[in-house]
Structures are given as C-alpha cells and as structure tokens.
Amino acid sequence: MRQRSLIAVTAALAAGALTLTACGSRNDKAGSDTGDGGNTTVVIGVDAPLTGDLSALGLGIKNSADLAVKQANEKKYVKGVTFKIQALDDQAQASSGQQNATKLVADKDVLGVVGPLNSSVSESMQKVFDDAKLVQISPANTSPSLTQGPKWATGEKVRTYKSYFRTATTDAVQGPFAAQYLFNKAGKKKVFIIDDKKTYGAGLAGTFKGEFTKLGGQVVGEGHIDPESKDFSAVVTQVKSSGADVVYYGGEYPAAGPLSKQIKASGTNIPLIGGDGIYDKKYVELAGEGAAGDLATSVGAPVESLTSAKEFVANYTKAAYKEPFSAYGGYSYDSAWAIIEAVKAAVDANNGKLPADARAKVLAAVQTVTFDGVTGKVSFDEFGDATNKQLTVYKVEGNDWKAVESGTLG
C-alpha cells in the first residue's frame, strides 16, 4: 500500500514537472527572439545574518537583493536569463560565513554573491570566492583592509582579492568623517573611545582617533568591551569620571544600545556616536529614552531622500516584505543590480548566451560596470571600493534616526 502510493506520488510529480517544463519552454519561445530556446537560471547568492542580534540588518539585505532580482525578471532585463536568489544565514559568524561561501561556490548556477554584513565574516569568505572566480559584492563591509590589504594605513595599498567588491564606503573615510563633524560642527573636544575589539569596531575607532587627535581633539580615555556580556559598568564608570563630552563607539547596535543606556543611567548626559553598525532602529529601542541626541554616521546619503531611491522605496513597500530595508537596503539593491548588469554584459558579449566561463566573465564585467543606482552612481575603483564616498550623520530624535547632514570627507 505504502509503496503503491509512493509510486503514484512520484508519477504525479513527474507528470507535473514535465508539464511545467513544457509550459516554460513554450512561453520562452513566445517571449524571446534570441533563438537559443532554453531559459537559463542565474542564481545570486546572499549571505547575511538572518537570525541573531544583527538579523534586522541582515534581513534588510536579503529582501533588497530579492527585490532587485524580482525587478530584473519582471523587466526581462537580461534576455533568456531568469534570476533567483539563494539566501544563506551566517549568524554574523566567520565560520558560518565560510561554510556558506563553500556552498555557494559549489552551486554552478551561482554567478555572484551579495553580502555579507560583517567585515570579519568577509575575511573568511574572500579566498573561497577568489579561488572560484566568483564575484562578491558587499553592501555593508567597511573595514579598509578587505580591499586595500592589511597595511592600508601606512599607504601600502595592495588588492588581495580580485573577486571582492563593495558598495559601502570604508572606515578609512567614515571614522575621520565622524571626527570632523564632532570637532568642527558639534564642538566636542574631549572624547572617550570604546570599541568591541572586532575587525569592524576596532578599525573604525582607530581611524576616528587618528583624525580627532590630528584636529586637536583630546582622547580622555579608551576602553574595550565584550559585546556578548551586557555589563559595561566598569567602563561606564570610567567614562563618567573622565570628563569626556562625547563617547565614540566602534561596534554594532546590540552592544551600543545598552552601552548608551548605561552611560545615561550613570548620570552622564553626553551623546554616544558610532558608525553604520549602530545606525538601526533597534539601537534606539535598546538605548531607551536617553538615546535622544546620540549620533551615527552611515554610508551614503539617506536612501529616503534621494530621488533615485524613490522608486526603490515605493517598490519595496509594494513588495510587502515583513522587515524594513534597514541601513544597507539601498546598497544591497545596488550590489545585486551590479551583478545583474555584469551578467547582462557577459551575455551580450557572447551573442545572447551565457558564456561557458560565466563566472570569470561576470567578475571582469563587474570591475567596469557603471550605472545610476539607488544610492547614486555605482562603480568600483581599482581596489574594488565604491567610487561613491558619500556619508551622512544621523541623530536620534523621538524614536528614530533623523539625517542631520550629508557630505564627503573634506
């Protein structure tokens, strides 16, 4: 009995599948005139923290990449190619990221990857992708060493991995940008610097410190926290007695929110400022009422205010994703589009068909891709960094972030 029903189900599935393929090819013939008949599927991998503390940012990345793919398919942007995304969860951990990278490389249909969120995760993935000549575009990594090598700070810039690109500006720009804003515009002269010792946090705090002291500002204290623990009382007490008029934090919002809350609760009413890692609504929620006046810098101009982004925001709303597009939505959308544009270039150069060495061709095409994206002009320099180096300062007002001013590093 059981066996018979199994056969029946298999048969039904097979029949269904055959019908569907038949449908597919018929539509295809009707729809495209390229003459090659078959419809190729190109998969764009997405790697981001879809669960855990940073999932608010990760899900925004996933949804935005998904939206890009949907629109490309709707417009039939690359003839004969249907795009699909495959989203993997790295839980913000380097080891998971590397496993995901291996998985994506193994799938021959994957021609590009969007992600990840964390610079430390990217470090573990770069070589895997580079060996497979699979292009990776991160919408969020800001650690300069990812593109310019470990000795970037001394001016010895070397691009280690040709397959790595990003649409986000680096911390070599972001930290100094925050320092200039604080010193010149906000009139803050005494800073207490705290970081979480991770690739992103420590790097950002380092570039901030360099510029702030160069401007003549005073670093009245430094501390490191363990983001896994939520007890920051020892550091908070040091902040209080240091006489600082602002705290700079290098790290992400799951620790930054409670840190700001604990600083305010200790009776020290000074703002906390951080980078794009704290620019999320969850920060405001975790930091509570005292967060009003806290600052963050984030890459690019506020997506909502750009005319080029109006359509993106409207489409995102229409697609009814459960989660907001968060800090990196626009950059993820642009990253996915950069891959789509590159696939189109590769297909066009090969008489409307996907070339045999598609990965290498797509990779080469990304390097030269230029288009008007959601976040402005999208293109990459010789290191794989975004040529668009705009940044924005945001301030907490009410229960959300408000853009204060945008600009490039002066």
Binding site: D53, K197, H224, D226, S229, Q238, S241, P258
Partner: protein
C-alpha cells in the same frame, strides 16, 4: 582611583547576579553531584517568563503592580522548566554513569536556547525589558540606578530566606541529609526524590529572581543571555566551593569584583595596557579561578571531604 567606590559597587552588583544563579548550580551539585549546565537557560527562560507577564498586562500598568506579577511569572516559568528537566531528563539517568546526565544537560541547554529563539515572538535578537522609572540615586560619589535597587535588595533577602529554609525547615534538613548521604537518608525515611525536586525548584526560583534583576539592570533580555552568565555563575559556584550555598554567593561576589576591578584598573599597571578592558575581564576572572583551585582545590568555603566509601 577616585572612582573606586563606584567600581566596588559595580562589582558587587554584578557579583550578586552571579551569586543568585550560582546557588542553583551549587544546590543541585551538592545533592545529586550533577553539574546542571542547563541552569543558565533556566535563568534565561525566567527572564522571558517575566517579559511575557509584562506584555500581557494592560498598557500603562505601573511597575509597582507589574513587578511582583512579573516576578511570579518568572518564578513559575523557571521552576516548571527546572522541575520538568529533572523529572524527564535527569531522573531517568540518575543511576547512569555521571557523564550521561552531564551531556543531557548540555543538550537541554542548547534545546532551551533554540526553543526560545524559534518560538518566542521577536526573540531572534534582544527584546526590550520594562524599566523601573525614576532617576539614579547618588550616595556620595556612588551612583545607584533604580534598576539596581531591586538587585541590591533581592540578593540578601534571597540569601536570608535560603539560610532559614535549609536550617530550620524539615525539607531543608532533609536536603542537608540527602546531600551528605542519599542512601542513608532514604533509609531514614526521607523522600529523596522529593528533596531533589525541591533543590531544582529552589535553584530555579533564585535564577528567576536573578533574571528579573538582569532585565531591569540591562533593559533587555535575549535568548543567549543564559550562556555566558551561566558559565560565570558555574565558575562562581566552583570558586566558592561547589555544594556550599554561602560559598556560591561569596564566589559570585568575588568573581564580580574581580571582573570589574581588572577591567577598570589592569590597563593602568605599567606594561599591562594591552591586557585591560572588558574583553580581558573574563580572562582575569578565570585566572583567579585557576589560582584559587591551585591553592585551595575545594574552593573558598568548601570543605575537604574524603571520598565516600
């Protein structure tokens, strides 16, 4: 060093939280020689129990009414899970080699974490916990936050209650007897199964109080909060002499103080700048543990016991 009084208070507060959770480890170990690694997660579920009660209360309820109800919610959830774990995960393995229940405990710890992660709405990242209103109090140069007041009161009251319970009640004396020799205790007519259940339940009550304190102090609860804190509390229990109730509290306080003071001052020692900061606090705490165990293997308040024949 002018901030020393504040740092001492910080350390005492952190230590009180460790102590509250350490009691659960110590009692269970004292009676069944089991290191209940799921205890940190029992603490965590207590936090979510309190949060659930808060979310069910109508908006605008004052903390004076809400807090006792949340505490009850936390205690109920944590106790049910602890007693359930004892009944269904540990009791069937009581005669098995000691490694078996230890592994079960680790498995249970992961299962509880993942269960909250998967099924509790919005618990995939930190969830905001309600706060006691009112600004911080200043006593001299020391600032105490309203959320800390709860912990400052709860820890000593809990300890006093536990001391009374163990010394003065029948069940408490039964616990002492069972912990000394379960087989003889059984022969003397003590229902050891019941005693063990009580030990688990009491441990859970303390963990639940600790979890509410955690939520009030840090303004959030999350599904991972039991892991690191549980590990620290276990360390505190060993430091104080595992099996000794007062030892757990002392061990917690010593650990909390050690962590806070090393975080604050190690970087000031010439040549040690790189070894300061909170990420090193954990390391120093464990260095302390190793030192204590080297020179006093039974822990601070533990007694040197001969192996049972």
């Amino acid at each position: 060093m002018h901030e020393l009084p504040q740092q001492l208070v910080n350390g005492l507060l952190l230590g009180s939280m460790y102590g509250l959770v350490a009691i659960g480890y110590t009692m269970v170990y004292g009676i069944v020689q089991l290191i209940n690694f799921a205890h940190g997660e029992i603490f965590m579920t207590g936090g979510f129990g309190a949060l659930t009660v808060w979310l069910m209360l109508p908006g605008g309820t004052t903390m004076w009414i809400a807090l006792p109800l949340m505490l009850i919610g936390a205690v109920i959830v944590a106790t049910l899970i602890a007693v359930g774990a004892e009944r269904f995960a540990y009791r069937p393995l009581r005669t098995a080699p000691r490694l078996a229940p230890l592994i079960t405990a680790i498995g249970l710890s992961l299962a509880l974490q993942q269960a909250v992660w998967a099924w509790y709405p919005d618990a995939k990242s930190s969830v905001v916990f309600p706060q006691i209103p009112g600004g911080p109090f200043n006593i001299g140069s020391v600032t105490i936050q309203t959320g800390d007041v709860f912990l400052l009161l709860a820890a000593p009251i809990s300890m006093a209650f536990l001391g009374f319970f163990v010394k003065k009640t029948r069940t408490g004396r039964g616990m002492q007897a069972t912990s000394q020799d379960p087989d003889t205790a059984k022969l003397m007519g003590i229902n050891t199964d019941r005693i063990i259940t009580v030990a688990f339940a009491l441990g859970a009550v303390f963990a639940a109080v600790g979890a509410v304190a955690y939520g009030l102090k840090y303004g959030e609860v999350n599904f991972k909060m039991g892991f690191l804190l549980g590990l620290k509390a276990f360390t505190a229990a060993v430091l104080g002499g595992i099996g000794n109730i007062y030892g757990a509290m002392i061990g917690g306080l010593v650990l909390g103080l050690a962590e806070t003071l090393t975080t604050a001052y190690v970087a000031d020692i010439p040549g040690f700048q790189q070894l300061g900061g909170q990420s090193w606090g954990n390391t120093w705490a464990f260095v302390l543990l190793i030192l204590v165990l080297l020179f006093r293997p039974q822990g601070l308040l533990g007694e040197r016991v001969a192996d049972r024949a």
